[in-house]
Amino acid sequence: MTALAPGFVDPPLAAQAVFRRLLDAMARPGMVVSLEAPPAPPPLALAAGAIALTLCDADTAVWLDPALRTAEVVAWLRFHTGCRIVGAAEDAAFAFAADTVALPFDRLPIGSDEFPDRSATAVVQVARLGAGAPLCLAGPGIETTTRLHVQGLPAGFVAWRARNHVAYPRGVDVVLVAGTQIAGLPRSTAVTEG
C-alpha cells in the first residue's frame, strides 16, 4: 500500500481558514474563491479534499460518484475524516462528484418542508472556474445579478438547478470546485444560461 497523502498540518487553523472561505463563497454565490488545500489523492480535486477535511466526520454520510470511488480516495477520506462512505446517493449528506455525464442529482436528499436543512451538499468538480460558458445568477448574496463562467459543467446541470430552485426551501446546495478554487451555488440561487 502506498503512503496516504497527509491531511491538514494544523487542523484547527487550517479548517477555520477553509471554512471561512467556504462561508464566503456560499454567502456570495458565483464569487470564485481560492482555498489553502493540502494534497489530496487524484482524481479528488484539492479544494474538494479540503472541504471534506473541514466538514466531514463520523456524523456525516459521504457519497462518491463512480469517478471518485477509488481505493485511494476512499482510504484517504476514511483515515482523515472518519466519515461513513455510503453507496446510495439518497443517503448522502455530502456528495462528491467528478463525472461530467452521469450525475445522480435528482437522487440526492433535498430535505422536507419542515426540515429543509436535512439535505445534501454536492461538491461538483469542473474543469475550470472563471473561464468557459457563462451562467447568470440571481438571489440572496448577489446585489443584482452576477455571471459565473464555468468550463466542464456536468450535462443537464442547469435544467436540474431549475428543478432544484422550484423545490425551495427544499433543495441541494452546490459547491463547484476546480483545483484549489471554489464557487458556491446554494439552493437559493437562480441559475440560468447566458
Partner: protein, 293 residues
C-alpha cells in the same frame, strides 16, 4: 497567540464542524432556523452562548472582534466575551465598528453602515417569531413549512385595533427573502431597516433554544406591516445630548438624583466618533461623556 491548554476558540473540532455545517445550511436557506446541538460555554445562558458558539466556529487569528451589548462596548457582558476570544483565539479586539471583521451583538445593529467584509453575529434569546402565539414546536414548524403566517398578521392587526398602531418596538418580526418569517432578536425596530440588503453577512445563534439562522448579504428583509399601517421604526423624538445626532437610536439616561434625564446615542462608538469629529449636543461636556456611558 491563544491560551495554551485550550482548543482554538474554545470549542473542540467536532463541535465546530457541526456548527459550521449548520451555518452553511442557514446561509443557503435565509431566515430558516437550523437546529444544532448547542454546547455548554463557560458563561451562563442569557450571556450570549448561542452567539458565542457561532463566533467560535467562524473566528480566525486574523479577525478583529468587536462585541456590543445594547450598543455599548464596555458592559460586563461585552467585555467578558471580548476577553474570552482574545484569550482562546488570540484575536485582536476593537471598539470601532469600522475596524471590526466580526461584530458580536446583543440587542443592537451599529449605526455605522456595515461593509461587505464584515460578519454580524447576533445573540438570540428566542429564535421563534411565532412562539408567543403558538407554544407548540410542531405547529410553528408546520407554519414555517407552509409559509402560513396568518396568525402573525392577526396578532399585529389586534395591536392596531387596540392602540391604533403597531406598538411592538423591538424583536419586530421580518420576512426574509420573501419566504421565512424571522425573529431579528430583541433589536429595536429602529434597526430593522439596516438588515435589509445589508452588504454584511448576518448570523444568528440561540444557545438555549439550539437554533442557528442567517441572512446573506443583499437579501430582502421586510418588517411585517399592512398597506394602511406601514412599518414605522420607533425612536425617541430628540437629538443626542452629547453629539447632537438626530438619526441614531437613543437611550434615555437618568443623570442626577433630581430626576434629570438625557437622551444619548445607544451606540457608544458612533457617539464617541462623532464627538471626536467635533459634533456637539446640547449637553456636550456632561460628565456622562467622560464616563464613556
Amino acid at each position: 497567540m491563544s491560551l495554551p491548554g485550550y482548543n482554538f476558540a474554545y470549542l473542540d473540532e467536532q463541535t465546530k464542524r457541526m456548527i459550521r455545517r449548520a451555518l452553511l445550511k442557514a446561509v443557503a436557506i435565509p431566515g430558516y432556523q437550523v437546529p444544532f446541538a448547542s454546547r455548554e460555554m463557560p458563561l451562563a445562558y442569557g450571556w450570549g452562548t448561542g452567539g458565542m458558539q457561532v463566533t467560535a466556529a467562524v473566528i480566525g487569528p486574523d479577525d478583529v472582534l468587536k462585541v456590543i451589548d445594547q450598543g455599548a462596548d464596555d458592559t460586563t457582558n461585552a467585555v467578558s466575551i471580548r476577553r474570552f476570544f482574545a484569550l482562546t483565539a488570540g484575536v485582536r479586539t476593537t471598539e470601532r465598528t469600522v475596524e471590526a471583521t466580526i461584530i458580536q451583538t446583543r440587542h443592537r445593529i451599529p449605526e455605522t453602515p456595515l461593509t461587505a467584509g464584515q460578519i454580524l453575529v447576533y445573540q438570540v434569546p428566542q429564535p421563534e417569531p411565532l412562539r408567543k402565539l403558538e407554544p407548540r414546536e410542531t405547529e410553528t414548524r408546520r407554519m414555517h413549512a407552509l409559509a402560513e403566517y396568518g396568525l402573525m398578521h392577526v396578532k399585529l392587526y389586534e395591536d392596531i385595533a387596540r392602540h391604533g398602531r403597531i406598538t411592538l418596538s423591538y424583536d419586530y418580526p421580518v420576512l426574509v427573502n420573501g419566504r421565512h418569517v424571522m425573529a431579528p432578536s430583541p433589536i429595536p425596530s429602529f434597526d430593522n431597516p439596516k438588515m435589509h440588503r445589508s452588504p454584511a453577512l448576518q448570523l444568528f445563534g440561540a444557545g438555549r433554544e439550539k437554533r442557528i439562522y442567517a441572512v446573506p448579504p443583499y437579501t430582502s428583509v421586510e418588517s411585517l406591516a399592512f398597506e394602511d399601517h406601514p412599518f414605522h421604526p420607533w425612536k425617541a423624538n430628540a437629538p443626542c445630548g452629547l453629539c447632537g445626532a438626530t438619526d441614531s437610536y437613543l437611550d434615555e439616561v437618568v443623570v442626577d438624583d433630581r430626576g434629570g434625564r438625557l437622551f444619548v446615542c445607544s451606540d457608544t462608538d458612533h457617539c464617541t466618533t462623532r464627538r471626536a469629529a467635533g459634533h456637539r449636543g446640547a449637553a456636550a461636556g456632561h460628565a456622562l461623556a467622560g464616563a464613556g456611558e
